[in-house]
Symmetry: C2
């Protein structure tokens, strides 16, 4: 990894310094957490969840609504009754044992490769929003241009490690062909890691083909170059669409996020530990299936996690039980030695208001203390995922940079020198003029760009600019400075040719096929 | 402690249930944390901070700008040179050894007594705001009626364990007599614990006299019934006002918060661990002095902690370094076996916007994971403490209730029963009709009252009510339902007589004497 002063250098100290001399297109290296984990279960409680999950898998079973998966499970030695698969704990343990505990996730700029697993974590922006709040904070349906805008912002924001995929749903292109344009947009406007669409098995195959064009067929064979998300239908159901997409990814050795979709109390028991036990059983069943498809294929323990409102059934974020479940799920994933995904900055606010701030920060803090590796939905999420807010996108990304700094832990390298300054200054003095301060201040203390800490008098004099407007100004500034990390022309042409051919082959349809 | 179903019962389960059937005047019992602490230092790093702090105390010394304190220190065997006191580590360790690690903080309703120290923590509202944003969100100077409003809200909000003291500065009463009215307001409108003014030694004496009227002179002698805050002037200075107030409290065996006032990087070195080393030296010097005043007197390791903006010098909140310093300070306080105070929900936003939400939630999360015992400024703080927001006050208090739930950890009591529901429901079912869900949903999942999680369509249909308006409606509702926990008539008369006498004795002055 070069440390030269190129535009895309990723050296830790340089990148951190660059982060505070905005604008910068440098990416922070993948986070290596040093602060301790919040583990709320002792060993016997971990064993109790494990045993309950294994009992569920053996005695209640899991529905795989997919003939190929049912045949695969039969061949693997599981008891299959109709669509119900009963998984023996020995079989499950044997299968998940071959999931790598840690792997490198490759970007097209190899300096932006990131590690996943153990203390290594990445921030990935939100995806799947059917609406956006745009640069004028207007809520509307998104287009491919809007998606490109979010991919450009993802490229530029230092704490985001991925451009994800359909951050917003581009409604100006036929649904049946949309995955091709989304994938191309992720690849073109950013050289960070990206996600692959799993909206159907065929779509997933297209993503794999495009990855093969970008990275080379042979390279993909033993290097993860994208990630796909497969949601479960809790309780205890996996459907044909998700399982087919999973097979498309696993056969090419590409990791999927095995994500039970939990609305705590509605599709799980009204108990935090029992919800974790069910979710854990669901995740294990899918993780085990990835190894039936291909032994040794990387895979990620996932989930989407909310609790529901008794009043309306609406999903809620930032609640104490979500934090506790994240702490517990992290322990279970580590118990099995599998990297895990959580969701960040969730919330149900309709605008970028105080509610959005509380919910997002609470969620961010919980997933950091829980030790999540793949921290998805890290920027833009609002209104329970119904819209991606451009203003919130840039603020969330700065919050991720702040959480990153916290998770790195205190820096001791200049401790003695800094303590010596206390003698130099003595009682009643001040430090701003001291050489140690002048040399180290920027490195020592993070200064948020998007928060206003001026006096009210100064704030009034400057026009009472509130956070939404400040954030949108920042987004406009970033976009004005954006420089495209050009694809190799031959690769670009091959990708375009592939898309053109597939768009001739795939009939255009116009139904909405939204997917989180 | 009775668990009967009276209006003020404090039973855990009953109070928690009551919390979700608002309105309720029940107080949650003092928090007993079960989740693990975030300890970012190993033993050798704790020892390194300790050694650096002791070196500072021995070699740099601390300025005590107060002749009585200097004489006290001389008598205690410290080396005194002018106003500079050099504290030998042996002397410091000997003195702080007699500070109780844990004590009960008494309220006038004994069912609202709370414990401080170890896993025991309390939430105390903000204090000291020279402005408020009122029930119409108008920013203006506060009055005694406004202060009474906040004391009433403190009384009613379940997660607040104190009515504090001058939540807002009542400008309609002469400054020199204000402490009397503030103390009376705290005592009258709430039966929870309260704080005592430390704005001067004489004022502190008045508070002690009023406490003696309320609790009895003899009772006070071995029961903490109030707490006072004494700020240091970092670096390494304690002034006469604070030291005189400290003596007034300690002589009566009442605990003070020994709070260095840190603007990280401006009045401390530009280093997180070195800032902690200086702050620790400062706190230790005052904690040691409490034991010079009276051996065995309870005392609290305190601090006010911010980092400063390089642009403006303004204090910043919610930054990663503040979280890290809280984790470290918690470790130091536990190392010395002294209960410790941190600050909650800080922030510099001018309105109750997304910035306020992010900053408050980040701070709240950090102090919970840090294991703070006395969690001050837990409701209402905005604009760097320049105003107390009525809307934010009630939202923050709900956030404290949520953090409380998180810090209690997962509940395992019905685990087997809840897991059994998974078999009953099976794959693809839903749980809302299951008897276990119906019986346990409310207890299992916290439902914030002040967050809106409805669909945008429903939100629009209901008039697009944003969080500030929702919160103010909630505050109005609480105030309409407020019932005063009447003082015993004889006590009330004695307090009024005392105030009347002192107001005749104390000349009215009108300068501002603001104090955090």
């Amino acid at each position: 990894m070069t440390q030269t002063a190129t535009r895309t250098r990723t050296g830790g100290r340089a990148a951190r310094r660059a982060l505070r001399t905005a604008p910068s297109f440098d990416m922070l290296p993948g986070l290596t957490r040093t602060i301790p984990l919040c583990e709320v279960m002792d060993g016997s409680q971990v064993a109790r969840i494990d045993a309950a999950s294994m009992d569920i898998l053996e005695n209640v079973g899991v529905q795989f609504r997919d003939p190929i998966a049912l045949a695969d499970w039969k061949a693997a030695g599981a008891k299959v009754d109709g669509e119900r698969v009963y998984l023996d704990r020995g079989l499950v343990r044997d299968l998940i044992a071959t999931i790598p505990s840690d792997f490198t996730y490759h970007a097209r700029d190899p300096r932006k490769n990131v590690r996943l697993g153990g203390p290594h974590a990445i921030f990935v922006p939100m995806t799947g929003a059917p609406f956006l709040r745009d640069l004028d904070d207007v809520r509307r349906n998104p287009t491919l241009d809007d998606l490109a805008m979010f991919h450009k912002l993802s490229h530029m924001l230092p704490a985001l490690h991925s451009s994800a995929h359909h951050i917003v749903e581009p409604y100006d292109h036929p649904i049946s062909q949309r995955h091709l344009r989304i994938t191309y947009s992720s690849m073109k406007y950013s050289d960070k890691t990206f996600m692959g669409m799993t909206t159907s098995p065929k779509n997933a195959e297209d993503v794999m083909e495009m990855c093969a064009i970008l990275f080379g067929e042979k390279f993909m064979e033993d290097h993860p170059v994208t990630t796909g998300n497969c949601n479960g239908n809790s309780p205890l159901v996996w459907d044909e669409t998700m399982l087919g997409a999973m097979r498309a990814f696993c056969r090419r050795n590409q990791p999927v996020l095995c994500s039970p979709f939990v609305l705590g109390g509605a599709n799980t028991p009204a108990s935090v530990p029992a919800t974790v036990a069910q979710l854990n059983a669901e995740a294990l069943s899918a993780l085990a299936y990835t190894q039936v498809i291909r032994r040794g294929c990387p895979a990620i323990y996932g989930h989407y996690l909310s609790t529901v409102s008794m009043k309306s059934g609406a999903p809620m974020a930032g609640t104490p039980e979500i934090s506790l479940m994240n702490f517990m799920i992290g322990q279970m994933a580590r118990h099995y030695g599998v990297p895990w995904r959580s969701s960040n900055t969730l919330g149900g606010a309709k605008t970028f208001d105080a509610q959005a701030g509380y919910e997002s920060a609470t969620t961010l803090s919980a997933v950091i203390h829980a030790g999540a590796n793949y921290i998805w939905h890290s920027a833009g999420w609002n209104e329970a995922g119904m819209h991606c807010s451009t203003a919130k996108f840039v603020v969330d990304a700065e919050q991720c940079a702040m959480a990153y700094r916290m998770a790195e832990g205190p820096k001791w390298h200049d401790f003695d020198e800094a303590v010596a300054a206390v003698s130099d200054i003595g009682p009643g003095g001040h430090y701003l003029g001291h050489p140690h301060t002048q040399e180290n201040f920027q490195e020592a203390f993070f200064m948020p760009e998007l928060f206003d800490n001026n006096s009210i008098e100064q704030w009034v004099a400057e026009g009472e600019v509130e956070i939404t407007e400040r954030a949108l100004n920042n987004a406009r500034k970033l976009l004005a400075e954006y420089q495209e990390p050009r694809l190799d022309p031959a690769t670009d042409e091959a990708l375009r040719d592939y898309i053109a051919r597939r768009e001739r082959e795939i009939p255009a349809a116009d139904e909405l096929n939204q997917h989180y």
